[in-house]
Subunit: 462 residues, 2 copies
């Protein structure tokens, strides 16, 4: 064989090997090529790849103003510009609402496992196969979730779904006031400071069956001697002040609705599982998906459960199937691996935020915040200080009766005490918002505290 001949043979052989590898690759890629999901998947990836400088994000259903047909960046408050890169210097930081955006980065980090493809024909019918409005798979995952966290005893209890805990609050009031005689409507109460929706929602439709009757303390020791029924909202940890509230009213005429929206290791030690008659939870404060409006009730009594289901049926006919599908996906991510990743993420952020907040406020005599004890947490197996979703700020100076005005002047928008049934010397500030919001809150508080201290120092030195 000539050397020329050999050279061509070798070259040809190499080329054939490359060909073979290449063809195998093409075949493998073609086999795993997506068909009907492809268009939606590409669209979602394109939108997700739009850069918003870390101060915003583009959504699939965002406004389309760009020439290339892609949606605009939706910026965090106080940021602006086409890619959210511009800071608005005199922008007031809005920490009025407890918008749980601090968890968004977790879901970006877990993009692959948390996305869900909803087919055009996904669960079009009114009911699930068993005739209910509730996904069995999702119900099972919720049982597993509470078993894992140890924050609620779900065994031998009924579970139903609602639009956040919002809808379930009224469903519970409806169910528990059902046998009320018209002559004496059930009194709905909560311990001040309380979540404003208890009042506004209970009063909304002017029912003959129930009536919001203010602070629990006014009715203490009056329940045993009366025939009036009471429904007491027990919020644990409490919104706004983070206390692990317990029921105040006792006796056979008092029924309790435990609002456990914040009873997660993000915000509090979990001393032991709750085991109450009616317990409400929401995805909003667990995974941060407030916009999904998904909540669930855990109910001991069959009759109360049936009445709550009746309310949901007639009010909205259940929670959208795409919401239930997404909640299932998200909770499966929460429960993957060692089942602690999201809780670690959430607690680390909340803990750090509280350390920073406490440090700034510790130097102030003008403002104080709630003091809550550390407790043993059965979930983390540690003694933990609380890291509640809200700072419940008090203006200590006599003249600062309208504390929210003091803060507003410093470009901080909080929610005033009156909304929670107490004096306006208190203001609620959200600690769960986006990092941008929290950083700005810290900075504004720091400025406010420093400014006040320098005034005090100035006066003292006179």
């Amino acid at each position: 064989m000539s050397s020329v001949d050999l050279k061509w043979k070798v070259l040809f052989s190499v080329s054939v090997i490359v060909n073979f590898t290449c063809i195998v690759l093409v075949i493998i890629q073609s086999r795993t090529r997506l068909s009907w999901t492809r268009e939606a998947a590409i669209e979602a990836e394109n939108v997700a790849s739009i850069s918003c400088s870390g101060h915003g994000r583009a959504y699939l259903d965002g406004l389309v103003l760009r020439e290339d047909g892609t949606p605009i960046c939706e910026c965090n408050a106080c940021f602006t510009g086409p890619d959210c890169s511009l800071f608005k210097p005199n922008c007031a930081v809005d920490v009025d609402s407890g918008n749980p955006m601090f968890l968004e980065p977790f879901w970006k980090q877990n993009a692959g496992s948390s996305g869900v493809m909803v087919a055009g024909w996904h669960r079009m019918g009114y009911e699930f196969e068993d005739g209910t409005l509730i996904s069995k798979q999702l119900k099972n995952v919720i049982h597993k979730l509470h078993d894992t966290v140890g924050n609620a005893n779900t065994s031998n209890k009924y579970i139903l779904f609602g639009a956040g805990s919002t809808q379930l609050l009224n469903a519970a009031v409806y169910a528990l006031s059902h046998h009320t005689p018209y002559s004496s409507p059930t009194k709905v109460v909560a311990s001040a400071p309380y979540y404003p929706v208890y009042k506004s929602q209970t009063e909304l439709l002017d029912s003959k069956k129930y009536k919001f009757s203010g602070d629990t303390s006014s009715w203490k020791n009056k329940t045993r001697s009366r025939t009036t029924n009471f429904i007491e909202f027990v919020t644990c940890p409490n919104n706004p002040d983070g206390h692990l509230n317990k029921a105040v009213l006792q006796g056979k005429f008092a029924r309790h609705v435990y609002d456990l929206a914040y009873y997660w290791p993000h915000y509090t030690a979990i001393p032991s599982p709750m085991d109450e008659d009616v317990m409400l939870f929401t995805l909003s404060k667990l995974t941060g998906h407030a916009g999904s409006r998904f909540g669930w009730a855990i109910v001991k009594d069959k009759d109360v459960y049936d009445r709550m289901v009746e309310y949901i049926d007639l009010n909205t006919y259940g929670v959208p199937r795409e919401t239930q599908l997404r909640a299932l996906k998200l909770l499966n991510v929460v429960l993957q691996g060692d089942r602690r990743e999201m809780f670690r993420f959430a607690h680390t952020i909340m803990k750090t935020r509280w350390e920073k907040l406490a440090e700034i406020l510790s130097t102030s005599k003008r403002f104080s915040i709630e003091q809550l004890p550390s407790q043993h947490c059965a979930f983390s197996k540690q003694v933990r200080p609380p890291s509640p979703a809200f700072a419940w700020l008090k203006c200590e100076a006599e003249e600062d009766e309208e504390c929210h005005n003091v803060l507003r002047k410093a470009d901080i928008i909080g929610r005033k005490g009156a909304a929670f049934g107490v004096e306006n010397r208190y203001v609620r500030l959200s600690v769960v918002n986006s990092r941008d919001d929290f950083d700005l809150l810290l900075q504004r508080l720091q400025d406010l505290v420093s400014k006040h201290r320098s005034i005090v120092d100035g006066v003292m030195s006179l």
Copy 2:
């Protein structure tokens, strides 16, 4: 050059060309390879590829009982077996609920454009960027939809969203009864036969502001002389009987809520756009996505709109963001191309079903159905007979006072007249269910009619 040499050169050249093509293919495929959406897309395609014999479907969140971890087939009623291939011979056909599964095949045919990938971080916050609970893009598409179909005038009107029209019914009652003095609650009425939810929902919470007061006809001519306020539900076409109802009560004390759930070319000719103060629509009967619980209200008056928004805020805090995203996707499919494809699909099925139904019942003297006139349809530019969502069956024989029992004995489950405020001589049968359900209904009706005719013929020949 030797011939051997030439041969190797040619072979090598061909191989290099194959190399080049192949490498380009691999590069192209790699570039269009999906990243974070891939897992969800594959999962969805795997589930969609599960065969359920055309009598069922597997869903992403279906129960997992198979060893390979895939969800089970959920079969149409009267079908069973792991792949839904077994017919249950003595199964009663359930046409009680108007479950709009007749549109499912349309969405399977349009799988590529109707699927939506929901990212784990999609719209986690409580509000949209403008502070509302409503997607602007979706609102714009709804305007475009009504412009296209010509069934409602939306210009200079407000649009809000709710959980199906279900939630919006009560939101409208709340808004329109807001200024009612307690001494005289607003009377909520509808023309019998009426949709049962008007009554059950209005009565649910025993409001002091409004009270369900039965059939409109009892109040006709009484409104002008009184100071009592009225809210009249006007259902057009009517559920159950398909009539294009008009408001009965007039005068300054009468307010109207137009329930236009069925005012689509699937079910009726569209003579002209509606232009009423409060108009309600739902995705359920338009695209068939009943499980999505998405509806919208078109409202003329700002004050009424604001009150309805207030109700939705306090009741559920808006429609889930994933539902709004999906509704946007689905309505964009409805409006793609010549904007008529889904309407053609829906009308063709409904028309064919009614022809078959009418043929069977035309031979019966025992049963009759509603007679509705043909009308000119401005959308299709044709004179069209109606093809309503329900057959409103009447048992003509004197002894058949409980018509639903007559049908039940023939294995047909309908909804009895009493639910709609009329006598049980009437039964509502759904015509919008899956093809399996409808075919079985036809067969059972055919058997029933034939059996009765042979009895009559037997008696006559005696």
